[in-house]
Amino acid sequence: MPVTKNTLALATYVVLFLIILAAPLYFDVFWLNRFSKFLVYGMLGVAMALCWGYAGILNLGQGLFFGLGAYSIAMSMKLASPTSLAQGSDTPIPDFMLWNAEPGAPIDLCCITNGSFLWIPFKSQFFGIAMGVVLPTLVAFAIGSIIFRKRISGVFISIITLAVVLLVRLLVVEAQPFTNGFNGLTDLGYLTVFGHEFDPYYVSTYYLIAISLVVVLVLARILVQTRSGLILQAVRDDDRRARFLGFDVPAYQIFFFCVSAAIAGYAGMLYVLVAEFASPTFMDLAFSITMVVWAAVGGRNSLLGACIGAVLINMVEATVSETPQLIEAWKVIMGLAFVLAVLFLPRGIAGLVSRLGYMIVRKPQKMPAARADAVDAEPARAG
């Protein structure tokens, strides 16, 4: 069997999956819960690599989709919370609505506060779950349709996505009677699917997330290996060429932008499952940029690399931040690592590992190293 890059990648996937799936054997409840969160971040890494590495779209507002997914499921879980049933009405009403309501407003989800009726369908948790993916996808579709049809490219996409996420965050905080503002949605009930309660510390919840990540990784990998995935990469390299070959370029960009958003939204839902709250800080600029950092360090052009990058960075961060002497130093290390990765490892850890792996399994010969910079060269068409 010839050892190709694909075989190596496959092997790495298998190893990772085994580690993920075997984790409950070695981790205690706390670490399992913490690891679940990291796997969710890993999923965000996958979404980022898909969007940035494969589609060439540097989305600085990925937190928007994560947040939309998180809020969708959190709304359902909020309505399932005992605190929502204590307001003296027959149907659940989130506790915060009660104290945000105008005096004399009817105690009913239909009209207790402005827009509260939008919560009604979320009484069904299936609706909440569905919206957790559908809503980010729809929003991505709307944003994508505008920016890609208008052929906005490069840094302008970054600035637009950045402005949009800040705008939405502002509105979420402002719409306190509807969203509980800055405090976010807390005191949530459990997600219950077919009678099974997803307690964040149960192994079943861990497996839900672990398997989700495996499925997302595999699906994303399959997706980029289809012809559409190939054409998408072609579009990233030279959208004009692709257009004159007859491809409806925006359709490809929109599609993968939506897929990336859907993954991020799904990750947001899973995060709420394990962390039991949704907060507007999910839409902070810093969080969105942190996702970019994960992908950049892990390897923007590698789904797996970005995923592992996210998990590893968070793991190391968790450890370091629990060592008092290193708390401030950690940020220095992170900033430095990031600068160095951008400067010297444009393909991140994944690029490094695959190069090393390639060297080990193959007789040393000419390496595909020279083109590392080629990818990153932005078509200088801005402005």
Partner: protein, 249 residues
């Protein structure tokens, strides 16, 4: 009997007062190789932009066969049977040579239609032929970004063939090439002739003589003359306006 493959009817574009292309009409027959000649600024590249939809025409019409494509978007025009090579070679630098051709040969334009892996075996066979034709047999698994200038040009020609367009527009395909590379390019282009209708912008008269069926000479946005290589060489107006002054012939 020859049929019209590309019909241009009164094509005009007005850049706020400046008519870069002014009432150009011509008919290119199926299988013909037409060369566009003209000094810099004569409007050759702009004409190609108009035909391929990169620039919108102010007036006039473009047909591929019987289909009017004037108002279509670029990718729709491409799907209607138009291929275009740019002056600066453009390929997908991060994909391998084969992947470049696979993308070009992809039978359907839509994102959902392409959510599958293998190409039809006939297409794969065709790609092999094209690789043979453009002489990149030993570079198939190389990233296109690492090809030499000439190889990149050939790859792009190969992609155009893989695209199976009726009409192919080539903008200075030999620019920056060595003598030997130019000869190989001429061979490839000649091989394309017949199956495709070609419109080529070119300055190198030796190369033009080598490949052209007919020549259209443009001057200041208008068609100055049109005819066979010999008749153009003899044309006094062309000599005065272009060839004579530049002393190419």
């Amino acid at each position: 009997m020859s049929t019209a493959s590309l019909t241009i009817d009164g094509l005009t574009v007005d850049f706020s007062g400046f008519r870069a292309v002014d009432s150009v009409s011509t008919v290119v027959d199926a299988g013909e190789l037409r060369v566009l000649l003209g000094a810099n600024g004569a409007g050759k590249t702009t004409l190609m932009d108009l035909i391929s939809g990169k620039t919108r025409a102010t007036a006039g019409k473009v047909y591929i066969g019987d289909t009017e494509v004037t108002a279509m978007s670029e990718h729709a025009i491409a799907r209607a049977g138009m291929g275009r090579k740019f002056q600066i070679p453009s390929v997908f630098r991060d994909l391998t040579v084969r992947q470049n051709l696979e993308v070009a040969a992809s039978p359907s334009p839509g994102v959902f239609a392409n959510l599958r892996f293998a190409l039809p075996s006939s297409t794969t066979a065709r790609i092999d032929e094209i690789i043979e034709l453009v002489g990149l047999g030993d570079r198939v698994d190389t990233d296109a970004g690492t090809l030499s200038h000439g190889e990149t040009q050939w790859l792009e020609l190969g992609m155009l063939i893989a695209q199976r367009p009726k009409v192919i527009l080539l903008d200075e395909p030999t620019a920056g090439m060595t003598e030997a590379e130019t000869m190989k390019t001429a061979a490839i282009i000649k091989a394309m002739r017949g199956e495709h209708t070609l419109v080529v912008v070119e300055h190198d008269m030796a190369f033009v003589k080598e490949i052209a069926n007919r020549i259209t000479v443009m001057h200041l946005g208008k068609v100055l003359a049109e005819g066979s290589v010999e008749s153009i060489e003899k044309n006094q107006a062309v000599r005065d306006a272009y060839l004579g002054s530049k002393g190419i012939v």
